[in-house]
């Protein structure tokens, strides 16, 4: 059941969750590379007269050093400030006037520019994206405008949103060394400090063809599109890429905890554990564990906390799918009068149980079915397809990652569940954030509540 409040809380964690999938049936994926290193992925689908186009750059939060946090988001914003051929706002106007939509986002590992348009607009979009890749000028004026945009997004999505702040706190606690610990909009002082030289260095290193994947899906003819992409993108210069030195997250000697006093109407708890990146062999097993413990109203934590103990109004779980160290997490929005300490014990109790006792075959089968359904749900639209292909290509190297994941979970056994749970569900690997309501009298009281109290 989804409610506005649940949606808000769910979204701040669930926006972290995406499934990398490709369609198990239908046409295959065509892959090629241009001479300048640009990778092209194409999937034909003639069921509707639409196409989706996505340019992915292999750069995200993980590429940001201390002092330069938020720089990727600034680069993303700059690419909307006008190009050689199109003034600011023109790209969006053209696409929308053609019946399409267009947007962009930066995440931990990849930055996306995407559009979905009627199929007769494909050539237009390709021309726009080629010009964006080749013709985004970097000026002081654009830098100032872009920094302002990023500051405003941070104000709106993080500082003005208690859920945004909780999200930031959680990641900051989970990652002490790794860049995943900071928000994609960066720290305010870093945004203020970033200068044109910083920008040029970051932009030129990462926003170029040899660091990009162009993904096109929909009502198109592959041969003609390959030719056209080569014409439009083939002459864009590339620069040598520096090899990235991954940053590991050091182990803790105890769990990391934070108590946030915040008025979200009810108490809440988030409990998570650090896990490896998505390409690790344990990933399919961790996916299954997430479902058993946290997915659906028959999941262990939901049954215990919502149905049996009645301490929570809603629970859920998820797994961050990242190239470098990820997270598995479970959260509970508690009933308004539930003590947080009891809720934490209940959640911990279920996590301990999966380490100590074999799960049933029925539970395992259920969790596998959930993976399959999730796979299909998240690969329905052309947008889903381009997002999944572009991300999978970069963070796993395998465009068929989704299909392989579904196959891999079929081989997960009950023994492997216990072994994996024991490996990762240790206190020294745990991050706990408790959200506690303010003291009575400090909370903001809505007028209706005043009236209701007097009825």
């Amino acid at each position: 059941m989804k409610k506005t409040g649940l949606k808000a809380f769910s979204i701040f964690l669930l926006f972290l969750l995406f499934v990398l999938t490709v369609s198990l049936s239908g046409s295959e994926i065509f892959e090629t590379s241009l001479d300048n290193g640009l990778t092209l992925l194409i999937k034909e689908d003639h069921s509707v007269p639409l196409v989706a186009v996505r340019v992915c750059y292999h750069v995200g939060i993980k590429n940001e050093c201390p002092g330069l946090t938020g720089i990727t988001s600034i680069c993303e914003a700059i690419m909307w400030q006008g190009t050689r051929a199109y003034k600011k706002g023109e790209i969006a106007r053209i696409i929308q006037a053609g019946g399409g939509y267009t947007s962009s986002f930066t995440d931990w590992d990849v930055t996306h520019f995407y559009s979905r348009v009627p199929s007769d607009m494909l050539d237009t979009v390709l021309m726009l994206e080629a010009d964006r890749m080749a013709g985004t000028g970097l000026t002081s004026e654009k830098l100032l405008l872009s920094k302002d945009i990023v500051r405003k997004k941070r104000l709106s999505e993080v500082e003005s949103s208690i859920y945004g702040r909780i999200n930031e706190e959680y990641f900051n606690l989970a990652y002490r060394a790794h860049p995943y610990g900071h928000n994609k909009y960066g720290w305010p002082d870093d945004i203020n400090r970033i200068n044109l030289d910083d920008l040029k260095k970051h932009f030129r290193a990462y926003f170029q063809p040899s660091n990009a994947v162009l993904v096109i899906a929909g009502d198109l003819e592959t041969e003609a599109i390959v030719k056209r992409v080569t014409e439009l993108f083939g002459n864009i210069n590339s620069r040598p890429m520096e090899e990235r030195r991954p940053i590991s997250e050091p182990e803790s000697i105890g769990d990391r905890r934070s108590v946030i006093v915040a008025d979200i109407g009810v108490p809440a708890i988030i409990m998570g554990y650090r896990i490896p990146g998505i390409s690790h062999p344990d990933y399919p097993v961790l996916n299954i564990i997430t479902n058993i413990l946290g997915t659906g109203t028959s999941s262990r934590i939901y049954q215990r906390m919502v149905n049996d103990e009645k301490s929570a109004m809603y629970t859920d779980g998820g797994i961050i799918m990242s190239e470098e160290p990820g997270l598995i997490y479970f959260y509970a929005l508690l009933n308004y009068d539930s003590p947080v300490e009891d809720a934490e014990k209940q959640m911990s109790g279920e996590i301990k149980r999966i380490k100590d006792e074999m799960i049933t075959e029925a539970e395992l089968e259920k969790a596998k079915n959930q993976v399959v359904v999730n796979y299909y749900r998240n690969s329905r639209t052309l947008d889903d397809i381009t997002r999944n292909l572009g991300t999978a290509r970069f963070i796993t190297g395998d465009v068929n990652f989704g299909k392989h994941l579904v196959n891999a979970v079929h081989h997960v056994s009950t023994e492997k569940i216990i072994q994996t749970a024991q490996k990762y569900f240790k206190n020294s690997n745990r991050i706990v954030v408790v959200i506690s309501p303010p003291e009575a009298g400090d909370a903001y009281i809505f007028e209706e509540d005043h009236e209701e109290e007097h009825e």
Partner: protein, 451 residues
């Protein structure tokens, strides 16, 4: 090679509905819409009841949402948590949503579980088991949901806007209910609600995916033909109060890091012949994202707000036009004044033909996207049914766009953007807001210390 593109040409629409569907009715009144789509081994369904939270009194606010959720708490064939367990075991997903003018049960399953999914649905709507224990648990959950919702500024402002325009009953209440009302709901109320509203002649089933239409029809008839028709449904309470002076409600939130605001007024039902012009106008005003008038003026040129958009909450009863946004505490009052200035300009001046044509072309081209997948097609069909319009609404809408022109949009602006009929609801520090908003309209301050 770089080509300069001046803009997409007008998109011609030939009037066909993209999704092909079969429709039929059972003798008990249940309407069924069915789409075959074999692109994925999945099925989706939406069962729509044409009764929503607009039927809730303030005394039992939340009754409709609570009653709908109770359907998930056990049936004659799946007692207790057996239903949840059975659904989850297939990997399937079930969602319950209550809106003001309708209630929905939505499901997504693998197509191999089609029969089971429909059996579960049939059991829920025909043979639910309501217990005191489950009701008490759900009431407590819903109270918590109401409290959590209350902590979200944007939700609170929307609730206040609705209350100011539609009163404290039915349509003016949030669909999830209020705590006092939820506490009063008893088991007999839930049973009465079920008897009056959850029956086939108040329901429509939309189903689609990897199914054979003939076989699906047989299964639906087998499972739902004996579902007994019901009594009269609960009546929606829609009490419109249109202000005759601009009203400003300020919720004092002294520690807020920024200010949220909502500006709105009642619009028209979706069936109205003015809907087409209103849709175009809304796109130009603020629905068109970063190319819209409000974004360009308030966010980009004046840098007074961080985000802003307009939208229309469509309904079978009365829609609501609203502009919502967020701004820094220092600039929020100026942002609101600038919004009113944009509104005034649109009431006086015709939009340029190019801007008007761009708006039309967006909808012409975007039409197909509404029916991209089975799920989106079913959602669109259910929405149109809930709004009380025909399934050819979108093609007809596009034809009606051809009858619009910038003069008509200006007439719409003059009628619907009259500041005297609007309500502004703001949440932020009163010390920074009130001085900047004084003189704009009648101000009411709620909470905190306005000194």
């Amino acid at each position: 090679m770089i080509c300069i593109i001046s803009g997409a040409g007008a998109y011609s629409y030939d009037g066909e509905i993209v999704s092909d569907y079969t429709d039929f009715s059972l003798s008990n009144g249940l309407e069924v819409y069915l789409i075959e789509d074999h692109r994925q081994p999945m099925i989706d369904f939406i069962m729509l009841f044409r009764t929503g939270s607009a039927t809730d009194s303030s005394r039992l606010s939340g009754l409709s949402a609570l009653s709908l959720t109770m359907l998930m708490n056990g049936t004659e064939n799946f007692p207790g948590t057996a239903l949840n367990n059975a659904i989850d075991s297939t990997g399937g997903i079930l969602d319950f949503t209550t809106l003001r003018d309708g209630s929905l049960i939505e499901g997504t399953f693998l197509s191999r579980d089609f029969s089971f999914a429909l059996e579960a649905l049939a059991d829920m709507v025909q043979r639910p088991v309501f217990t005191e224990e489950n009701l008490e648990r759900e009431k407590r959950r819903f109270e918590s949901i109401a409290m959590q919702r209350n902590s979200i500024s944007s939700a609170r402002l929307r609730d206040a806007l609705y209350m100011n325009n539609f009163g404290r009953e039915g349509y003016g209440l949030p669909a999830e209910g209020r705590r006092a009302g939820l506490r009063r709901v008893e088991l007999d109320d839930v049973k009465e609600y079920f008897t009056h509203n959850i029956h086939p002649d108040n329901a429509v089933l939309f189903i689609g995916g990897d199914i054979k239409a003939d076989e699906a029809k047989k299964t639906i008839k087998k499972l739902f033909a004996d579902w007994a028709p019901g009594k009269d449904v609960y009546r929606s309470i829609v009490d419109i109060t249109l202000p005759d002076t601009l009203e400003i409600i300020i919720y004092d939130n002294p520690d807020a890091p920024s200010t949220d605001f909502v500006i709105g007024r009642p619009a028209v039902p979706a069936v109205s012949d003015r809907a087409a012009a209103l849709i175009l106008f809304d796109y130009i005003l603020g629905g068109g994202g970063e190319i819209s008038r409000l974004w360009q003026s308030v966010v980009v040129e004046q840098a007074l707000a961080t985000v802003i958009q307009s939208r229309i909450d469509w309904s079978r009863h009365e829609g609501v036009m609203m502009i919502s946004g967020n701004a820094s505490n220092e600039t929020a009052a100026d942002a609101i004044r600038e919004i009113m200035a944009v509104i005034e300009e649109l009431r006086e001046i015709r939009v340029p033909v190019s801007e008007f044509e761009d708006a039309k072309n967006f909808f012409y081209g975007n039409f197909v996207g509404q029916y991209e997948t089975t799920h989106s097609s079913l959602s669109m069909m259910a929405t149109l049914n809930r709004l009380g319009v025909k399934q050819d609404f979108y093609p007809e809408l596009l034809k009606r766009f051809d009858q619009c022109d910038p003069d008509k949009l200006r007439d719409i602006a003059r009628e619907f953007l009259n500041p005297n009929n609007m309500t502004i609801v703001v949440s932020g520090p009163i010390r920074k807001l009130k001085p900047g908003l004084t003189g704009l309209g009648n101000i009411t301050v709620i909470g905190g210390d306005e000194n």
